[in-house]
């Protein structure tokens, strides 16, 4: 058990077997030329028969893209995917996906949904009914064959998703964040049931590949955790999980493992000195604004301050009931603005962050205003507006500028985040009627 480089990750037993899936030097990018966005960069991955592998990482690290490339839903821009040694062309007929959003056809009954997958493979009616009913039984939905998805709870819908995926007896079962749309209890029981089916070999599936951003979930289920990072999306570590099943979350070794994974992720995404990057259009890489809601930023700092200025990220996520996906942008924002620092899986508040947490509304705005002026993207918007005739410019101007560094969609999101920060800081605001940004006169801080 331990961190290792991707090349040395496989254990000796695996070396002798032929991998089910082999991802070779796969890169994926969108767009062309200057505006090319790299979603995945030279990813290598092997999945062996009998393995349960999870892809873990923050949103935007390309883990879902990688899953789609492995199943053949998406094509790599470079590199190739081998299935049992053969290059994959088109959708992999031996793979199925369980979707985060279930992706059930709402107009088909439970049985109809499961049967649709069989019908597409030309299975005749009689056999189809029997196989579908047997699977519905297996996932514990007997009695609900004729129910429509909208009559079922989220957990039950996902059971249909599993039944449908297993109906075609795939060799590779892909799970795309299958539990993240469920309530905590349903998710937990469904995880347990899946693990029971898997470890007892009740299903003919050869290997499972799961995408998740939930670290505990990964440690709970996987034999191997592939840690990914973003900008560009790539594999940064692979960790073997050798704990025996069923795993218990209170187990000391389980907690150690979770901490280890946290360190692997947090250690990579937060560099020690804050890299501010350059403004759009300038040479150098323009650092993205993390899409952090400001309420959450203030809340986070208050919680850290209350727990003595230092908190375990893992415990914190648990306490705030936040997913990795929600927590990390906030942590990143805190770091970028100099309010906090990440240190080996812990987050530590800075004196500045402390005074922010203790300040009143207007004083907070003042601190925030001073800090975000240092962020090149914000400064760029501010100075551009300052130079404009009546301190007003159409949104388009900034979007065009941002699009030099980001996709059209990301440029929009960046500007949205920038505007919400700018509004809070009373630096600049947005006029919805004219679609213009304009400079604001700040409210003076009262000297009480």
């Amino acid at each position: 058990m331990g961190t290792s480089t991707p090349n040395a990750s496989t254990t000796s037993t695996n070396d002798r077997r032929e991998p089910l899936i082999e991802v070779r030097n796969v890169s994926k990018w969108f767009g062309r030329g200057e505006r090319r966005i790299i979603a995945l960069e030279r990813v290598n991955l092997k999945i062996y028969p009998g393995e349960f592998v999870t892809l873990l990482g923050p949103s935007g690290c390309g883990k879902s893209t990688l899953l789609r490339i492995i199943t053949g839903l998406a094509q790599p821009s470079e590199g190739e995917v081998l299935y049992r040694g053969q290059p994959l062309r088109g959708v992999n007929p031996h793979a199925t996906i369980v979707f985060q959003s279930f992706a059930l056809y709402p107009w088909l009954t439970v049985q109809g949904n499961v049967e649709a997958a069989l019908k597409a493979r030309g299975v005749p009616a009689e056999e189809r009914h029997q196989r579908a009913l047997a699977l519905i039984d297996k996932v514990g939905l007997d009695g609900f064959e004729n129910a429509y998805p909208r009559e079922l709870s989220g957990g039950m819908r996902q059971k249909v998703g599993f039944a449908r995926a297993m109906a075609v007896e795939p060799e590779l079962l892909c799970l795309d964040e299958p539990f993240s749309a469920l309530d905590v209890l349903s998710a937990e029981s469904l995880r347990g049931e899946l693990m029971e089916l898997w470890t007892s070999k009740a299903i003919p599936t050869q290997a499972i590949l799961m995408v998740t951003h939930n670290i505990e979930e990964a440690v709970f289920m996987a034999d191997r955790i592939v840690v990914m990072d973003k900008d560009p999306g790539r594999v940064v570590a692979e960790l073997e999980v050798t704990l025996p099943h069923p795993r218990r979350r209170k187990d000391v070794r389980f907690i150690q493992m979770v901490d280890q994974v946290y360190a692997a992720i947090a250690g990579k995404t937060q560099p020690e000195e804050v890299e501010l990057g350059s403004a759009p259009g300038e040479p150098g890489k323009t650092e993205m604004l993390p899409h952090a809601p400001l309420g959450a930023l203030a809340g986070l700092l208050e919680v850290i301050a209350a727990s003595g200025g230092r908190a375990d990220l893992y415990v914190l996520g648990d306490e705030l009931v936040m997913d990795l996906d929600e927590l990390f942008p906030v942590v990143e924002a805190a770091e970028r603005l100099g309010f906090a620092q990440v240190d080996r899986g812990d987050i530590v508040i800075t004196p500045l962050g402390e005074s922010f947490a203790e300040a009143g509304i207007l004083a907070r705005k003042e601190i925030f205003r001073q800090r975000i002026r240092r962020v090149p993207l914000i400064r760029w918007i501010y100075t551009t507006l300052l130079q404009a005739e009546d301190h007003r410019l159409p949104e388009e101007v900034f979007l065009r500028g941002l699009e030099q560094d980001f996709t059209e969609e990301e440029a929009k999101r960046q500007l949205e985040t920038a505007i919400s920060w700018g509004r809070y800081a009373e630096l600049f605001a947005f006029d919805d009627n004219t679609d213009e940004l304009f400079l604001e006169e700040p409210t003076p801080v009262p000297t009480v």
């Binding site: 199943t71 056809y105 107009w107 019908k119 597409a120 429509y148 009559e151």
Partner: protein, 574 residues
């Protein structure tokens, strides 16, 4: 209660672009070809003998219904294929969509003279007129259905699409299991709207007569017109009764059951509080015979079809079209070149024909357009004045709605064109009678769209906003200004766009009539088009029809589409 907006949806975009120009030129050329053919139209066309006995009515009703059904089936087939092609091909967004967008805002009835004339020139008279009526209804029905299905096809959620691919659905299964069900509900609503609109055009076509050419068709429309012409009130009442019965029966036995059945295709993952109800559908659901039929005949057939399709067609990836080879490029270029040359040639010939018109004639056309515009405006303002308070009252009050909604629906379902001869019977001898009758026809034909949209909009205002307004003590005009009008805005705009289009259509039949052996005409573009047809003045027919199309298109693009965009962006309550 129905909370859906009824009317066209606009594609956001610039006011006019190159694609629009091409489509407009194509329309001009098509009109020119029609007008050229009209030169050969028979000079005298004998109309049918209409039997006013009530016993003839079932036959007439069947004839009218037959035309409607034929046109509707044609529309349905066309919308499914065209929308599919538009959604799938790369050309879709750039070419196929702008075509629908223009055609849906062109006043279809202005084609009526050109279409009937050219088809009677090409085919045996009666057949030509029958086809012309079907073609006309088709063109009035098809665009919104096509547009709706296109929108459904392009908005199928990505996860459903991916599921279809990973589970290896082929084109057939994808269409049957995913795309058609996903588009079913909007398609049915649009079908209902198209069907209702179709009656308007069918009646117009059935009573169409100009000078020595009697283009009438035996059917409910001509029955009503003949009855009114002869002042036979009993027959008028019989005719109206039959028409209403047919419409109500269609509603009860076709549309309501369809809606109730289609409820299962809705995508919302929660149970709706008020699913559409149909007693007939419930009855069918309990029928033993139907169950047997379904189980032993339909299901096995569908099963066979599905398996045959699955086995014959391997799943194809939903991939963007491959890059064309050089040969294909060559052919494409050649085809496009031919079309361009053809269009340009047609355009030059059309301009040549138009040169026969003097400047005074053009002025008269513009003058007529202005007169019709004023009439449309008056009709719109009158509709707005009464539908706004009434619609809001109905929409906000569930009990009132329960009582009034069915009545309003029946009254609204009578096509205004069917009533037109009856109105004329009473108004034609008054001073300015035709003028009033024309405005009345526009009003009757279009106010319902406005009313239904307002009712839908008012009932869609969220309860919490209503309560908040009440708690804040916002009353009277302030309540209208801060809550009701903004909330209604998208619905109002959609309603008014439909109403305005309908009014322009109505002008063709309304401004120039032959009643009880006499010709009555008033100032207006519709009257000019009708007169040109009657006097076989084909350059004038072409010129006036073109002006009407361009005027309506310009109003739509410069005025309505902008308002529509504002409504979509700022006043949408979801």
């Amino acid at each position: 209660m129905q909370k859906r907006r009824i009317g066209p949806a606009f594609v956001p975009g610039p006011a006019f672009d190159v694609g629009d120009a091409v489509v407009v030129i194509a329309i001009i050329v098509a009109l020119y070809v029609g007008v050229r053919l009209a030169f050969q139209a028979p000079a005298v066309i004998r109309g049918p003998e209409i039997n006013l006995s009530p016993r003839a009515l079932p036959w007439y009703a069947l004839l009218s219904l037959g035309r409607m059904a034929a046109a509707y089936l044609l529309s349905l087939l066309f919308s499914l294929t065209y929308a599919y092609a538009a959604a799938r091909s790369r050309l879709g967004n750039r070419v196929l969509l702008p075509i629908i967008d223009i055609l849906q805002s062109v006043p279809i009835l202005s084609f009526l003279p050109v279409v009937v004339l050219s088809l009677t020139a090409l085919l045996p008279e009666r057949l030509g007129i029958e086809l012309a009526s079907i073609l006309l209804i088709f063109t009035s029905q098809v665009w919104n259905m096509t547009f709706s299905f296109y929108q459904s096809l392009t908005t199928v959620p990505n996860d459903l699409r991916e599921a279809a691919r990973i589970f290896r659905f082929n084109t057939w299964l994808r269409f049957k299991t995913m795309e058609l069900p996903f588009g079913a509900i909007p398609l049915i609503w649009n079908s209902m709207m198209s069907w209702a609109g179709g009656w308007f055009f069918l009646m117009a076509a059935e009573i169409f007569t100009l000078g020595a050419r009697d283009f009438r068709l035996p059917g409910l429309g001509s029955y009503l017109q003949t009855a009114a012409n002869q002042g036979n009130i009993t027959a008028v009442l019989w005719g109206l009764g039959t028409l209403i019965t047919v419409i109500v029966l269609m509603d009860q036995f076709v549309w309501r059951p369809l809606l109730a059945w289609a409820d299962k295709f809705k995508v919302e993952t929660v149970e709706a509080d008020e699913p559409p109800q149909s007693w007939f559908y419930d009855l069918l659901g309990r029928s033993w015979l139907l169950e047997q039929w379904q189980e032993h005949i339909i299901s096995p057939l569908v099963e066979r079809l599905d398996l045959a399709m699955v086995r014959s067609r391997a799943p194809q990836a939903e991939q963007p079209a491959h890059n064309p080879t050089r040969g294909e490029r060559l052919w494409q270029g050649l085809a496009i070149g031919l079309v361009v040359v053809g269009l340009l040639y047609g355009l030059i010939r059309a301009i040549g024909l138009l040169q026969a018109l003097s400047a005074t004639t053009w002025l008269a056309i513009l003058y007529g357009a202005a007169a019709t515009f004023v009439r449309v405006l008056i009709a719109q303002l009158i509709s707005l004045a009464w539908t706004l308070p009434v619609g809001v009252a109905i929409g906000l009050n569930k009990r009132l709605a329960a009582v009034l909604q069915p009545i309003v629906q029946i009254v609204a379902s009578i096509p205004a064109t069917a009533l037109f001869p009856v109105i004329l019977l009473f108004l034609i001898n008054l001073p300015g009678g035709l003028n009033i009758a024309a405005i009345l026809l526009m009003l009757m034909g279009t106010q319902w769209y406005l009313l239904f949209n307002i009712i839908a909009g008012a009932s869609a205002i969220p309860r919490d906003l209503l309560y908040t307004t009440e708690t804040l003590g916002i009353r009277g005009w302030d309540r209208w200004r801060t809550l009701i009008l903004p909330a209604l805005f998208p619905y109002l705009i959609t309603g008014m766009i439909t109403a305005s289009g309908g009014s322009w259509n109505a002008s063709i039949v309304a401004e120039h009539v032959e009643f009880a052996g006499q010709t009555h005409s008033t100032l207006g573009l519709g009257a000019i088009i009708a007169r040109a047809t009657a006097q076989a003045d084909y350059p004038l027919l072409l010129g006036a029809t073109l002006v009407m199309i361009l005027v309506v298109l310009t109003i739509n693009r410069l005025f309505w589409r902008r308002l529509y965009a504002v409504a979509e962006e700022r006043y949408k309550l979801d």
